[in-house]
Amino acid sequence: MAQMKFLCDAERCIECNGCVTACKNANETEWGIQRRRVVTLDDGQPSEVSISVACMHCDDAPCMAVCPTDCFYKTDDGIVLHDKDICIGCGYCLYACPFGAPQFPKQNAFGERGKMDKCTFCAGGPAETKEEEYEKYGANRIAEGKLPLCAEMCSTKALLAGDAQTISDIFRQRVVYRGHKDGGWSSVDKAQASAPDVSANLDNMAYDATRAEK
């Protein structure tokens, strides 16, 4: 069975927000709801790095564990979905989620938040009809044999979506090309590595996409 995952290659992410826009467009989420976000650390500094995040469809999902209504379920593909008919908008899933994925259309007195919304891996959700499904949860591209639109439209292919095995193979290959032992979120130790080494590694990272397989 496939285990669907997202993986964002921070070396490649150029903070273009294409994924954010693609998601918004594919799912036509409510005003104020933005299922995917791009986080940039150290903006404008040499160490700047960006990564695109949404729901990561955790294996042992904290949101599922704390939900008082037990409205979450996992599909056979490992996608974490929830039933908006049962959700009471208590916010617990947001408190528990590592990635700030659950969002609410409002935040009012007496804990009035509306129904929780989050990334569905473009797999829709429980509903009677297709129209209702789209209205409540957005696109169901998985049912059409397509991957989430955010990853499909990523211009640098930083954001990968698909079976965990497949996308980690792709990422592993890139890391190998980069020639750095942990080239993903690598810890280049300026003090210890010799300057040419470091330089060569960074060089490799920058060109991994165009280098031919050795």
Partner: protein, 347 residues
């Protein structure tokens, strides 16, 4: 004229192209110089302990979501989940379950605390109509909040499987709505009730003796008690402390309007759950003592009047003060609610 303008335009374009060429040449030459330190500083790369700290605490950080203050990874969420699901949730069941068990065993072994003497039929006003209304409103709301709160914590293990999704969806949304709107009303009324009964619940020396004698179970003589005995005062002060925490934490959860962070809400939830479970467990004891546990106590809070014998036995100091106002046995109706209860309350 026209051609001159065109000429100038072309020159300008040429100038721009030239400038770009010079700039590119400059860039290329620095790159060719291959100064590793400089390259290192320009490329993505240095992921160190600071970076991971930023991932967690959201410093040096921008996020494209419009009003997001969320860090990249919220590390406290999983801790909260474990504390709530693995400790508080089973802990609450154990606390409530053991309290019930203790009460049942106590009732079976010790039984009801009966009146030592015959009732005289003379009635003393103990609780005014206002006080009774207050008590029963707060009590009802408390039970409503306790049941809805318990449903939020444990309901999913029971009702969804037993009655299906549609029933559960309605029940749990009603539960949340009720809990979140009744909560603040309860909070205000509880504070008013605490204010009203503050003076009679101030601790006195004889209360210590009351506890040492286990409220009259140890030793022959009944320990001294004013209008409120040691046990009632303990319940009062538990409400005034733990109850206050329930209200404050409930308020934090109920009004997410003051920029509360996820961490604030996790703390509020843990405080709220623990304190409210403590309150529920103690309330079970209070309900037992007020009903099954003590002969003649419940009628005080329902009718407002207690029998002279009951007053003498349980609140001797108070009885001494108010005995003269007791209604005569031959009276058909109890004496009128003339504020004697509030006027004579040594504690």
């Amino acid at each position: 004229m026209h051609t001159l303008m065109q000429c100038l335009q072309r020159l300008r374009v040429l100038g721009v192209i030239l400038m770009l060429a010079v700039l590119t040449a400059g860039l290329v030459s620095t790159a060719q110089a291959a100064d590793p330190d400089q390259e290192l500083n320009q490329a993505v790369g240095t992921i160190n302990a600071d970076t991971w700290r930023e991932v967690k605490n959201g410093e040096n950080f921008i996020d494209t979501r419009h009003d997001s203050t969320y860090s990249l990874i919220n590390t406290s969420g999983e801790t909260w989940r474990q504390i709530r699901n693995d400790w508080i949730s089973p802990g609450g069941l154990i606390a409530l379950g053991s309290m019930l068990a203790i009460l049942v065993i106590f009732y079976l072994i010790v039984g009801r605390n009966d009146l030592d003497a015959e009732r005289t039929g003379r009635k003393l006003l103990r609780w005014t109509a206002l006080e009774r209304a207050m008590h029963w409103t707060v009590a009802t709301l408390f039970i409503v909040l306790a049941l809805t709160g318990l449903n939020l914590l444990y309901g999913k293990f029971l009702f969804r499987h037993a009655f299906g999704d549609a029933f559960w969806a309605n029940l749990v949304s009603l539960t949340k709505l009720t809990h979140n709107y009744v909560g603040p009303v309860f909070g205000i009324l509880l504070l008013l009730m605490l204010a009203k009964w503050l003076t009679v619940n101030l601790p006195k020396k004889h209360d210590w003796q009351w506890f040492k004698q286990g409220g009259g179970m140890v030793g022959k003589k009944h320990p001294d008690a004013g209008f409120a005995n040691g046990g009632e005062k303990a319940w009062y002060w538990i409400l005034a402390s733990v109850g206050l925490l329930v209200i404050v934490s409930g308020f934090v959860l109920d009004f997410p309007l003051f920029g509360q962070t996820r961490d604030n809400m996790q703390w509020a939830n843990m405080f709220h759950a623990v304190t409210s479970l403590i309150l529920m467990a103690v309330a079970l004891g209070h309900i037992y003592i007020g009903t099954l546990g003590t002969e003649g106590a419940l009628e005080g809070m329902t009718t407002g009047y207690v029998d002279e014998t009951w007053a003498k036995q349980h609140h001797n100091l108070w009885y001494e003060e108010v005995k003269d106002s007791a209604g005569q046995p031959e009276q058909q109706n109890p004496p009128v609610d003339d504020d004697t209860a509030t006027a004579n309350r040594p504690n």
